[in-house]
Structures are given as structure tokens and as C-alpha cells.
């Protein structure tokens, strides 16, 4: 073997390594880096208590991010997620206080509420063609108002059985981690292995072209927003179970946090590119960050600033990644 072949081989090796690194999304590095920082700065970081805490506080974010990712994939957005979380959380605690015997029915009612809001969002966006950003912002404001009308202050209480939803563990693992895995597995399967999933990508990639290809884009949009309402409702119920009561503004940061999580995870704001698992990593990034900042006693308003910068960084990475893809022609 002469020198040139050796260098050629070396080159091809480094190139393939490079391409592997290119394929791992930045969010996973970020999560890794964050955990490292957490471990270094906080001896408590690796305790089971802290890890459980991270998982439990991330769960509602992670669940709601499924819906946000799907709407983003269709080149839409859902800003009513936060208010739906507040609404379902509030309604659950409000009703369970007086009717503890109907806890199961109340849970289903809350899910139905989420579905209903999503359905309305979807119908309006699909048929009246209103801008998803503005419409879901507006419907979110209405829902927030309704929620405050039901209960102006934190209050209500959930049943002891309902509390178990978030508190049961299998060994050291909180059951919540299984909720997340199951929901993400189902979601990913739908997205990757059904024609509905492919239609989501197609609609987000080029709506008119998808239509000409025989995709019923209205149905796709309606389904996606309805799913988003559904996952937001699940997130609201989980929070109710976790804090044991209702809080009419508990969901306030969730619309934007799910957006940040999804974009951080590689889902394009312009639609058609991305998947769910990246969003999950994004959600855990935000969850871990919040917990770590809390452990380090960083004040909440600094946390807002940090989150804002992360969203900006996520959008920049989004643009940069797609510009990068253009190069390989």
C-alpha cells in the first residue's frame, strides 16, 4: 500500500466520522453538555431524587411537544397549547373537588375539551384559512379568559387516586417516563409509518403540491390540531395530578416552551422537516435547564431571559442547518 491510498483511506474515514457527527442533531450535544454542567456544578444532580424531579417536571412539556411538533410539521403552529393546559388542569381540580366520585369521567371531559379546542382550531385553519399563528393565539386568549372565569386563583383539589397518575413508580422509574415513551412511540409510528404521517410532511413541505397529489389537506390540518389539543389536555391533567390542585395560569409558558423544544429538536419552523424524538430531547433540555437553574438558585426572571436566548439560538440553528443542506447539490 503506498502513501496516497493511505491518505485516501484516512480521508474517507474522517469524512464518514464527520458525517456521523453531522447527523446527530445539535440538541443531543446540548443536552449532554447541560447534564455535564449540571453534574459539575451540583453534587445533587445525579441523585435519584433530582433525576425523578427532572422527569416529572418535564413530562407535561414533553407530552404537549408532540402536538406542537405535528402542527409545526404542517407549517403551522399551536399557541393555544398553554391555555388548554391551564383549562384542563383547572377544570379537573375544580370539578374533582365537588365530585370526587366522578374523577374518571371528569378526566375524560377534560380530554374532550382539549379535543374540542383542537378541532375548532383545525376547522378554522383548514377551511377559513386563517393564519395559524394568529388564530391559535386568539383562541388561546379566549380559553385563558374562560379558565380565569372558572377559577380566578389556584384552588380545587384532585382525588387521591388521581394523584397516583404522576406519583406511581416502577422501581426507581416514575411511571411518567413510560407515558412519555408510549406516546412518543405511537406518535412516531403514525408519523413515519402511516400515510397520514407522510401526508403531514407533504402538507408542510408544499401544501398546494400535496393537494394536487391527492392529499386531503383539510383533513390533515384538522387532525393535527385536534391531536395537539389532545396532548395539551393530557399535559394539563398530568400537572393537575402532580400539583394536586388547579392553577388557571399554570400553562402560560408551555406554548412557547413546546415551540422551543420542537425547534431545538430539529423541527423546522417552515414545515415539512423534523420528527418527534428531537422534540423530546428538546423538552428534556428545557426541563433539565429549569431544574438545574433552580438547583443553582437562579431567579425566575433570569430563567426567562435564558429561555428567550435558547429560542433565538434554536431558530438560528434551524436556519443554519437548512442552509447547510443546500450546499450538497
Amino acid at each position: 500500500m503506498n502513501d496516497t491510498t493511505i491518505t485516501a483511506e484516512k480521508q474517507s474515514q474522517s469524512r464518514s466520522l464527520k458525517s456521523i457527527f453531522r447527523h446527530i442533531r445539535p440538541v443531543f450535544y446540548a443536552l449532554f453538555l447541560l447534564c455535564t454542567i449540571g453534574i459539575i456544578t451540583q453534587p445533587n444532580f445525579l441523585t435519584i431524587r433530582n433525576l425523578r424531579n427532572i422527569i416529572l417536571s418535564t413530562t407535561p412539556w414533553a407530552i404537549a411537544t408532540i402536538g406542537q411538533s405535528l402542527t409545526l410539521l404542517t407549517a403551522g403552529i399551536d399557541l393555544s397549547i398553554g391555555p388548554v393546559v391551564s383549562l384542563t388542569n383547572t377544570v379537573a381540580a375544580f370539578l374533582m373537588k365537588d365530585y370526587p366520585e366522578y374523577a374518571l369521567g371528569i378526566s375524560f371531559l377534560c380530554i374532550a375539551l382539549g379535543l374540542l379546542v383542537g378541532l375548532i382550531n383545525g376547522l378554522v385553519i383548514a377551511y377559513l384559512r386563517l393564519n395559524p399563528f394568529l388564530f391559535t393565539l386568539a383562541s388561546g386568549i379566549v380559553i385563558q379568559g374562560l379558565t380565569l372565569g372558572i377559577m380566578y386563583q389556584p384552588g380545587g383539589i384532585v382525588t387521591p387516586e388521581f394523584l397516583k397518575i404522576s406519583r406511581v413508580s416502577i422501581g426507581v422509574f416514575p411511571l411518567a417516563i413510560f407515558y412519555i415513551l408510549v406516546l412518543y412511540a405511537i406518535g412516531s409510528f403514525i408519523l413515519k409509518r402511516t400515510s397520514f404521517g407522510l401526508s403531514i410532511y407533504a402538507v408542510g413541505g408544499n401544501q398546494y403540491s400535496a393537494r394536487l397529489s391527492g392529499i386531503r389537506i383539510e383533513r390533515v390540518l384538522i387532525a393535527v390540531y385536534t391531536i395537539s389539543g389532545f396532548t395539551a389536555a393530557l399535559a394539563g391533567l398530568f400537572i393537575a395530578s402532580r400539583i394536586g390542585s388547579g392553577d388557571p395560569i399554570v400553562g402560560e409558558p408551555i406554548s412557547l416552551d413546546t415551540l422551543t423544544a420542537a425547534v431545538l429538536g430539529g423541527t423546522s419552523l417552515f414545515g415539512g422537516i423534523g420528527d418527534l424524538w428531537g422534540g423530546l430531547a428538546g423538552a428534556f433540555f428545557i426541563g433539565t435547564l429549569s431544574t438545574t437553574l433552580n438547583l443553582n438558585n437562579v431567579s425566575p426572571f433570569y430563567q426567562w431571559i435564558v429561555k428567550g436566548f435558547i429560542l433565538i439560538a434554536a431558530m438560528a440553528i434551524d436556519l443554519w442547518r437548512h442552509a447547510g443542506n443546500n450546499e450538497i447539490t
Binding site: 402511516t194 398546494y208 403540491s209 400535496a210 443546500n326
Partner: protein
């Protein structure tokens, strides 16, 4: 650099000073992309006032070469010499400062700004940031005078025709005192009249010593306007010839490395029966009682000047434009087509004229694009995608159409125009259509792919498919159609078998009902 000598931005002074200047040389330009050598030691030189055509099949390296020249890419090896000096630059802004600019197929205009604002964009005359509006219009007028065009500088660019926008792009290039203008497929969206107008502008530019690198797939144009032609193939320069030294066949031979003998496939199918019938179709202000019939095994060509309702006709047939009256019959039965979904169900495939906007989902894979319209019928079990079925289905079509890709998961965005168009065709062959409605099937693609697509269309008619083909290229209409209808102002004004058709007959029919003078005069003065 000339401009300084003149003191102010007086164009004529600048241009005279330029006449003395030397020319551009690209020496041994090499560019590698992962896995491919896009350009292999290309050397091309350019004289002042020369129109230098660059031709080659898609993927030959033309785009890469002009991207290097215009600063969008940096070459791995090689040098660019301008006026006897070696220039190193790697951004479009630096290239513009050297006087090199490109006009791409997709215009970079702001539709909500006026013509003058667009022309002067990036170099708006101002004092302390306050724009001198009068000066903006004055300088724009100056440029228009040089070009010999008469266009309202106050009008909004968004309201202009494509040809007029093209003029604005050229004016913008001229206002920047460019001395080398790269034009990438400038005529792809123009009508014949507009093309002639563009050529006049190019000749005017030549007189002002501006050099032009002209990229086009239409060889006819190159013989009309270029002084020199360079042929690229697989990233290598096949040769540079003076246009007087070569003929069309020789250029084609250089481009594809073989002779393209039968440019169009033989018309050897027998038309019979009726697969699709359009009865009394009207669309408000666009189409007036259209009646037509597509027979099994034939290609029905729809000719006419651009914008005479051809586009509306095909979209009305597949239900994407609402019909005021009129029915679509399939095999003698009213097909009740109200949307593209109905059309697909009725066995009608539609290949739109704009593959990037309407035909494809560029950011998704070849696999997904091809599978999309066939999911329900051929790929899914219940609601689940059957991966195995999908793979065989897609691979079969890729093979059948000889689509060149690295993997079926490759993004469509990264394919050449010819391969993209083949993906569109594959997608619609997948539904096994009985009727195919095709608009501008070979717009902006290389001669090799063009010929392959033509042969594929003829093959389909041999299998009994009826094809309706809208095309603004008369040679394509004549070469492919078994029967031709001519449209003007939303009506069918003539119908003829191919044996009776010629460019003259079609053009005469296309312009008969409209006072022909009015069109041309109008089109010219408005520019």
C-alpha cells in the same frame, strides 16, 4: 476601476472607460463536492461585449461555474483574472464590486417596491440616510434609456409581467455598472415576443461593452444571440467554439457525447375511442365553452400564445378551478371531477408546468414524492405504509424512468431539473393513469432528459394512455402531437391533425382573432 475615474456615477463616461479594458479569464477552475468533482479544471475567457453561451446537460457543472464566478461558491483550485489582475473573492457582494453579477431564474426583486426602488436597491442615492427620490427615478430612467425601454419607474414590480420583471433585473445589473452579467435561463418564462425584446436588450448591452454569460437549454436562442459557445459535460469543458464555426447538431453532439438522431419519437400509435371528453366548459372571464376530446393512445397538443387560457383549461379539467358550466366525461360517463383528488380517482394524472412550486415537495425525498399519490391504492395496508411494497413500487419507477439518484431517500431539491421532472413523471405513472394532462413537460431541462421524457410519453400512448399536452414550445407541439388545438383568449380557435400543422399555421391561428398588430405593439410599448 473605471468608476472612480469618472468621478460621479455618470453611466456613459463609465461605459466609455470600460471599452478600453481587458477581459475576464477563468483559469483551471476546479470544484469538489462530497463524492463528486463538479468542475474539473475549466478554463474559459470572455471578451468585452461578448455574449458567451454556456451549454450542457443538467448536472454538467454550469451552475457551479457561474456560482463561483458570481462569488456564491469558492473554487478549490484555479484562478479568476480580471483586467490582467488575479482576483480573490468569495462573496456575491465582492463579485458585484468587481462588476460581476448574475440574474438567476428566480428573480431577486421586491414585489412591493416600485420599479425604480428595485433598480436602485442596495445603492440608493441618499443624504444622511434620507432617500433622494427624485434621483432614484432619474437614475433609473437613465438606465432605461440606455436599454431603450420605456417602463414606468413608479409602477409596482409585483404588477409587472415576467418579461418586464426580467427587464428590471437587467436594469438593476446595469445600474450597478456591471461589466459581466450572467444570465441563467433568462427566457424560460418568456413568450416569443418577449424573448425578441430581451435579445434587443442584450444587443444594446453588447454595444455598451457589457459581456454576457448566457445559459440556456434552447439551442435555437444560442445560435441567434451568442458569439461564442462553451460546452460543459460532466464537469469538464468539452470545447469553446465561435458560433459561426458550429451547427446545432455539433453542439448537441458535444453536449451529450452522442448524436441525437431521432429528436422526437415516431408517431406510431393509433388513436381510438375517447378517454376524456370536455363538454361546454366555461370559467368566468377565462374560458368560453371549450369542447374537446382526448382519444386513447394519442397526444393532443394545446398550442397558443402564453396566457390564453391553457393553464386555466387544465386546472379546470382536474377540478382545481371551479367551472361555471361544463362537464368532464371519462369513457362516456360524467366523471364529476371537483378536485385533484377526484381527478386522481378518475385515473387522471396532472403534471403541472411549475414542477418546483406545484409538482414536487422539494424538501422531501424522491421516495416520498413518488409514493404520495399512490399511497391509498398501492402502498398501504389498512392505514399502515407497507415498506416493502413502497420500496419495490418506487424502485421500479426509478428504474423505468432512469432517474439518476444516489438513493431513493435523496432530497428532490438536490436533483437536477431533468431528474426532478422525471420524478414528477414517475409519481404520476405510479397511479397508472388512463389520462395524463401535462403542462410544459420539458421546460428548462437538458436535451438528453427532454428526449427521454418525450419517448416516455410516446411509450405511454402505446399502452393506450391519452395525453393532453400544453406547451409553449412550438417544436415540441409539432414534434409530439398527433392532433393539435390552438387557443386564443380562452377559446379553441383551431384544431388540426399533425400532418396539417406547421409553425406558420399555428401562429396564424393563435393570432388571428386578436388583432395581431395590437399584441405585438402592446407588448413592446409596455415593456
Amino acid at each position: 476601476m473605471g468608476r472612480e475615474e469618472c468621478g460621479d456615477a455618470s453611466l456613459s463616461c463609465f461605459i466609455i472607460s470600460q471599452m478600453k479594458m481587458q477581459f475576464l479569464e477563468m483559469r483551471n477552475i476546479t470544484k469538489d463536492f462530497p463524492g463528486v468533482r463538479a468542475l474539473d479544471s475549466i478554463s474559459i475567457s470572455l471578451r468585452q461585449g461578448e455574449v458567451h453561451a454556456l451549454v450542457g446537460e443538467n448536472g454538467a457543472g454550469k451552475s457551479t461555474l457561474i456560482k463561483i464566478l458570481s462569488g456564491a461558491y469558492k473554487s478549490d483550485q484555479g484562478e479568476i483574472w480580471l483586467d490582467g489582475e488575479k482576483k480573490d473573492y468569495d462573496s456575491p457582494v465582492q463579485a458585484l464590486n468587481l462588476g460581476i453579477g448574475a440574474i438567476y431564474q428566480e428573480f431577486n426583486l421586491a414585489p412591493n417596491l416600485s420599479v425604480a426602488q428595485n433598480v436602485m436597491l442596495g445603492q440608493v442615492p441618499n443624504r444622511y440616510g434620507v432617500i433622494n427620490t427624485k434621483e432614484v427615478h432619474k437614475r433609473t430612467e437613465e438606465v432605461f434609456n440606455l436599454l431603450g425601454v420605456n417602463l414606468d419607474t413608479h409602477g409596482l414590480v409585483g404588477k409587472l409581467t415576467v418579461a418586464q420583471q426580467q427587464i428590471v433585473e437587467i436594469a438593476k445589473a446595469l445600474a450597478r455598472n456591471l461589466r459581466i452579467i450572467i444570465m441563467d435561463e433568462p427566457t424560460a418564462a418568456l413568450t416569443n415576443i418577449e424573448i425578441q425584446r430581451l435579445f434587443e436588450v442584450i444587443r444594446a448591452l453588447k454595444d455598451q461593452a457589457v459581456s454576457i454569460i448566457y445559459i440556456s437549454h434552447r439551442l435555437g436562442e444560442i445560435f441567434e444571440i451568442a458569439d461564442t459557445v462553451s460546452v460543459l459535460k460532466d464537469g469538464k469543458l468539452v470545447g469553446t467554439r465561435s458560433i459561426n464555426e458550429v451547427n446545432r447538431d455539433e453542439v448537441v453532439l458535444m453536449m451529450i457525447g452522442r448524436e441525437l438522431k431521432d429528436y422526437y419519437p415516431p408517431k406510431d400509435t393509433i388513436a381510438e375511442g375517447s378517454v376524456l371528453k370536455v363538454r361546454d366548459l366555461s370559467v368566468h372571464d377565462k374560458l368560453y365553452s371549450i369542447n374537446l376530446e382526448i382519444r386513447k393512445g394519442e397526444i393532443l397538443g394545446v398550442a397558443g400564445l402564453e396566457g390564453q387560457g391553457q393553464n386555466e383549461l387544465v386546472r379546470a379539467i382536474i377540478g382545481e378551478i371551479k367551472r361555471d358550466v361544463g362537464e368532464i366525461y371519462r369513457n362516456g360517463e360524467n366523471a364529476k371531477i371537483e378536485s385533484a383528488i377526484d381527478a386522481i380517482r378518475a385515473g387522471i394524472g396532472y403534471i403541472p408546468d411549475d414542477r418546483k412550486q406545484d409538482g414536487l415537495i422539494l424538501i422531501r425525498s424522491v421516495n416520498e414524492n413518488i409514493a404520495l399519490p399512490s399511497l391509498k391504492k398501492r402502498i398501504q395496508n389498512l392505514i399502515f405504509i407497507n415498506n416493502k411494497k413502497e420500496k419495490t413500487f418506487v424502485n421500479e419507477l426509478i428504474k423505468k424512468l432512469a432517474i439518476i439518484i444516489t438513493s431513493r431517500l435523496q432530497l428532490v431539491r438536490n436533483l437536477s431539473g431533468g431528474n426532478q421532472q422525471k420524478v414528477v413523471l414517475a409519481k404520476w405513472l405510479g397511479i397508472q393513469p388512463e389520462v395524463l394532462i401535462v403542462a410544459e413537460p420539458t421546460r428548462g431541462i437538458d436535451v438528453g432528459s427532454k428526449s427521454e421524457i418525450h419517448h416516455m410519453m410516446r411509450d405511454l400512448t402505446r399502452q393506450g394512455v391519452g395525453i393532453l399536452m400544453v406547451s409553449s414550445e412550438l417544436p415540441e407541439i409539432l414534434g409530439m402531437s398527433d392532433r393539435i388545438i390552438v387557443m386564443a383568449e380562452g377559446r379553441i380557435v383551431a384544431e388540426m391533425p399533425w400532418q396539417q400543422a406547421s409553425e406558420e399555421v399555428i401562429m396564424a391561428a393563435a393570432t388571428k382573432d386578436i388583432i395581431s398588430e395590437e399584441i405585438s405593439v402592446d407588448a413592446f410599448t409596455r415593456l
